[in-house]
């Protein structure tokens, strides 16, 4: 029992797949490599730490001053050979750690040529994953044992994409594409965090990596891409609002963001810039999405981008259906 605890403490467990005292589950090929280096450093550290502390305790016990007048036993004030030795040995050790850490890091950064590419977008405070088919999702779905490379960028401030089980982390910087890859080894769900502090919702910026069995991913993608057909229009609309960035500016809880709230918008009169009003019917909403600058809501900046060519007719209809449900 005690034996096992010590083992876990020292990180033997950390190279096991279920996750140990130190490290979580190993979900990717990279995790195995990282954990090995971690264990090496852990061992080096434990060795030196134990050495130092036991010497310290030994000296304290052995050379404890018993009387105020006690003197030290004469011993040399320096010893160049000794000092050079204990400078040189750590140098060698740290160079080994460095080389190993660096080569592993290189591998973590250079994706294999045949990897499956997903675009990751960070925004306050959610992750969006765009698949090559054009489908946008809030979770990252991948296939087991397939190299996946992520091309990441941010809409606003810096975020940090982190999957502990994959030992994978990278800051997502606005104005820049950042690349990263991994190969998941075990089907299952894994937590994604945001690690670069980004404001109020930073600690809620969670998502999941869903690693599918072989074949499962393709089925999922097929089905998910067809959500317009499989979901009710209102549900699909809700999903579009979440995933296509509308929620970045529009809330559904009545508070105004960059744009007006969607709550009880549909069917009401909207006060426009310049004193006019307009009824919020199907045509108005459609126009607001396709030609946002045509009618500007009073009190707001004309900053909404057009979605012409980026939302299909069907999608807009779904959004409208969704807006109707927000009373």
């Amino acid at each position: 029992m005690g034996h096992e605890l010590i083992g876990r403490l020292l990180g033997w467990a950390s190279v096991q797949a279920e996750g140990g005292f130190w490290m979580p589950v190993q979900g990717s090929t990279g995790a195995v490599v990282v954990d090995r280096i971690f264990s090496l450093v852990l061992w080096v550290s434990v060795f030196f730490f134990v050495l130092i502390v036991s010497l310290m305790v030994f000296f304290v016990v052995r050379y404890r001053r018993r009387d105020a007048r006690d003197e030290a036993t004469p011993s040399p004030r320096h010893n160049t050979l000794l000092e050079v030795t204990w400078t040189a040995i750590p140098i060698v050790i740290v160079i080994v750690i460095f080389v190993w850490g660096f080569t592993a890091f290189l591998n973590l950064n250079v994706p294999p040529a045949n990897s499956y590419e997903v675009l990751v977008t960070g925004q306050k405070w959610k992750w969006l994953f765009t698949y090559p088919s054009g489908h946008v999702d809030e979770d990252l779905h991948v296939s087991v044992n397939t190299p996946v490379s992520l091309v990441m960028t941010s809409e606003d401030v810096i975020h940090g994409f982190y999957v502990p089980a994959f030992r994978l982390k990278r800051d997502v910087v606005p104005g820049r594409y950042v690349k990263l890859w991994f190969r998941a080894v075990k089907p299952g769900e894994y937590q994604i965090y945001c690690t670069q502090y980004c404001g109020t919702g930073h600690s809620d910026m969670w998502a999941k990596v869903v690693v599918h069995e072989p074949g499962g991913f393709e089925r999922w993608l097929e089905e998910a891409s067809n959500f317009l057909k499989t979901m009710s229009p209102a549900q699909a609309g809700e999903r579009l609002v979440r995933t296509r960035g509308c929620a970045q500016c529009h809330t559904v809880n009545g508070t105004a963001g960059t744009g007006p709230t969607f709550l009880s918008l549909f069917g009401h009169q909207v006060a426009l810039e310049g004193g006019r009003t307009a009824p919020a019917d199907e045509d108005y909403v459609r126009e607001s999405i396709m030609e946002p600058q045509a009618k500007i809501v009073a009190g707001f900046q004309p900053v909404m981008p057009t979605f012409k060519g980026r939302l299909t007719d069907q999608e807009v209809t779904a959004i409208i259906e969704y807006l109707k449900t927000l009373k």
Partner: protein
């Protein structure tokens, strides 16, 4: 044993009046002052160093912006200003010499000359700034210039243009949904200097760098003028002489540094090709 200690005299002996109680000799005090000042100058170098670093980074990544934008600066005024500062440095060095030699009247006059030249520098700088202001050649957010070719309002964030200035496919607020990322990860480096006609993008970066560098330098000129004015007041009271001129000397060092920085700013900002 006591004799070993050179500071012993200072501890007991009578102190000359302008020698602080914790120094032993005027030499020691003078050298401490100088060393202190040089260390301060070192911090100034690193303070400006940050800006020079920003300059170097943006210039080497976006040479086209710098080549394009520097033409809006007035080379002649810049050159005149360089000459003005060099002259003020000369009068300052001369003033220190006069202080060392105890030439009171010359010292006062030279300090006045230095301050006058500094004012002249600021005057010219003001004219330059005013031009930029009128033409909207300002930094980041306030950049409003009309460049030769209507490249669209340059990235104006405060009042976004009616039609978004950016091409939605190139840079959108939502992921480009219709198409996948299309091999972005394997994309090779693009040529930095796009040979597209017309003004390059992000011209305001140059003006951000220009205004921060010259602005910080300008603040230093003003600070220098204040210091020199203090020296002038003390000089008119006849406080300085061969045995006590450290303040003038130190003020001089500071003033020369201000000149030194301008010597680099001038070619870096005005003389780009």
């Amino acid at each position: 044993m006591l004799a070993e200690n050179t500071r012993e005299g200072g501890m007991t002996g009578a102190h000359p009046e302008h020698l602080a109680h914790h120094f032993d000799t005027a030499e020691q005090q003078f050298e401490s002052g100088k060393l202190g000042m040089w260390i301060f100058l070192a911090t100034e170098i690193l303070l400006f160093g940050g800006l020079f670093c920003a300059y170097a980074v943006y210039r080497s990544i976006h040479p086209e912006i710098f080549v394009y934008a520097h033409r809006f600066l007035d080379k002649a005024l810049g050159a005149i200003n360089t000459a003005v500062l060099i002259c003020s440095s000369f009068t300052m060095a001369w003033a220190v010499r006069c202080a060392q030699l105890g030439r009171q009247r010359a010292l006062v006059r030279l300090l006045v000359a230095t301050i006058a030249l500094a004012a002249c520098f600021l005057g010219i700088k003001y004219i330059e700034y005013q031009h930029k202001w009128k033409e909207g050649l300002l930094w980041g957010k306030y950049f409003r210039a009309k460049l030769e070719q209507p490249a669209g309002p340059p990235t104006a964030r405060p009042t976004p243009a009616p039609t978004p200035a950016f091409n939605p496919d190139e840079r959108s607020l939502i992921p480009p949904a219709a198409e996948g990322p299309g091999g972005l990860a394997k994309r090779g480096p693009e040529p930095l200097l796009a040979a597209s006609p017309g003004p390059p993008k992000d011209v305001q970066v140059f003006f951000a760098v220009y205004f921060t560098m010259t602005g910080l330098h300008g603040i230093h000129v003003i600070a220098g003028m204040i210091v020199l004015a203090l020296m002038l007041v003390r000089a008119t009271k006849g406080e300085f002489g061969p045995t006590y001129f450290t303040p003038v000397d130190l003020a001089g060092l500071y003033w020369h540094l201000v000149d030194l920085i301008w010597i680099f700013l001038f070619p870096l900002l005005y003389l780009i090709r």
